[in-house]
């Protein structure tokens, strides 16, 4: 028997949660999933491009204007905070009874800290950064590693849940 807090049950019975899960509308659950997927592509995809440049793959690419693309990283991030909240409302028991979900949250927090540092320290003055870039190598690798971890954990949540709904095991 599931010994999960009763508020999960309450949350699942709310109109929004029920609608997200059960509606036949194209704009219910799968629409939120699409948004979450687009956010992931913007965040991880743009990080890959920035990472490739910061690791020295295309040194001819100027760094300072590349900073413009960092806006896409944050758009992807906030899109996924919002769409992720809706996914959580749709299946609260599924996420909150899975330890991997908490690990994902920890990695996201770590990832945000790394992103802020990259934005502040790596994409500033073109002349000064060239000499500092070698020292930032591990920070860039952390950025790529952590967000790859978030992606992997997020995808794994679909296959590792012990409960789909309150009182319903897999």
């Amino acid at each position: 028997m599931l010994s999960a807090p009763a508020f999960l049950d309450t949350l699942e019975r709310t109109g929004l949660s029920t609608w997200l899960r059960e509606s036949e509308s194209l704009f219910a659950y799968y629409f939120v999933l699409v948004l979450h997927n687009i956010g992931l592509a913007l965040l991880v995809g743009t990080c890959s491009v920035l990472g490739a440049r910061l690791l020295g793959f295309v040194p001819e690419l100027p760094l300072v204007p590349l900073r413009r693309f960092f806006r896409l990283v944050w758009i992807g991030f906030w899109l996924n905070m919002v769409s992720g909240a809706f996914l959580l409302i749709a299946y609260p028991t599924k996420a909150l009874t899975n330890p991997l979900f908490y690990l994902k949250l920890v990695l996201i927090a770590l990832g945000v800290w790394v992103l802020i540092r990259i934005e502040r320290e790596c994409l500033v003055d073109e002349a000064a950064i060239a000499s500092r870039l070698a020292a930032k190598r591990s920070l860039v690798l952390w950025m790529l590693g952590v967000w790859l971890g978030v992606l992997t954990l997020g995808r794994s949540l679909a296959y590792t849940a012990s409960y789909i709904l309150y009182g319903k095991g897999t």
Partner: protein
């Protein structure tokens, strides 16, 4: 939609296309005709792309004719196994041809000998395997004179050797879905590939469309191999996932939408690189504006990649949306 008719429409393209491309390719060695060689490589790449919906429509056609009297399940499976083996060699030829075309751009002397040998070797094997796929497919509906439809076919000596390498379709399918961990790993790789494609292609498209104009295009475009790694990863994991649950995907309208968007992306890429539009933006410097034709191609690419993601994500929602 009648899937066995769609399969009949498509299934001649890989066979005839590869025979013609291989003939052009071999002919290009006489007189070192580089234009002819480039044409042959383009045909290989295009035909490889069309082979994907051909394979997919074959699975759907199998479901359509499965209940017909006189159709032998064993003959269908034999054809499917031949198609699976052939598919990988066609894909590999397409990838090798695209690599060679890429290097054609970079050096006046043409691609290195290793590329040419790889294309020659892979395409020769692929052409042979496609011929066998066509032949085994023909046996399903058109038996040898004097035998009834559905009669088991004895393999010839060459057929028996090739048959040893052909996967048993059901066994391969079971292997893909045997553990949820392998499936989850494939899906994670598919999402990593998707991110690499959107990151690199999206950045190039946005720059051409006029965003972040301070960036020169050439160094940004040099990141394209990263997107190609993503594309390769997603072709392989995508096809493996399809083989894992072929009927699930073939009966799904969203999956067909995704395939159509991918084919249009192929056309879009061809227009970009083969009609001189890419040459017009290749050396775009900081602050320079791209031609309208290039902007339209870039916007089309961005739109179509998002269509691929959206229809891919709706596959689950449209389970069983098509009737055979």
């Amino acid at each position: 939609m009648n899937f066995d008719h769609l399969h009949l429409l498509l299934n001649h393209v890989p066979i005839i296309g590869f025979v013609i491309a291989l003939a052009l390719f071999v002919a290009s060695f006489a007189g070192r005709n580089t234009d002819l060689r480039r044409s042959a490589l383009i045909v290989f790449a295009v035909v490889a792309l069309v082979t994907i919906p051909t394979f997919v429509s074959g699975v759907a056609a199998d479901r359509t004719i499965a209940n017909d009297a006189g159709v032998s399940e064993a003959l269908v499976k034999r054809h499917e196994g031949a198609a699976m083996l052939g598919l990988w060699f066609v894909m590999a030829t397409g990838a090798a041809a695209m690599t060679a075309l890429w290097r054609f751009r970079r050096t006046a002397a043409g691609p290195p000998r290793a590329d040419i040998v790889a294309v020659l070797l892979l395409s020769t094997i692929a052409t042979g395997l496609m011929a066998r796929t066509g032949n085994t497919g023909g046996d399903i509906r058109h038996p040898q004179p004097g035998t009834a439809q559905g009669t088991p076919v004895a393999e010839g000596s060459i057929g028996a050797i090739i048959h040893a390498f052909e996967p048993a379709p059901d066994g391969f399918t079971d292997l893909m879905v045997a553990t949820k961990w392998w499936w989850a790993t494939m899906m994670v790789m598919h999402f990593v590939g998707l991110s690499l494609i959107i990151g690199v292609v999206g950045a190039i498209d946005l720059r051409i469309m006029g965003f972040a104009r301070e960036l020169p295009l050439a160094p940004l475009h040099r990141l394209l191999p990263l997107a190609m790694i993503g594309l390769g990863l997603n072709f392989v994991t995508g096809m493996l996932a399809f083989i894992g649950m072929p009927v699930y995907y073939a009966a799904d309208i969203a999956f067909w939408f995704k395939l159509c968007a991918l084919m249009l992306l192929g056309v879009n890429a061809l227009l970009f690189y083969m009609t001189g539009i890419f040459d017009s933006v290749e050396h775009l410097g900081p602050g320079e504006d791209a031609a309208l034709s290039a902007k339209i191609i870039a916007a089309g690419s961005l739109l179509l990649w998002f269509a691929v993601i959206i229809s891919g994500r709706y596959i689950q929602r449209f389970e069983d949306s098509l009737r055979f």
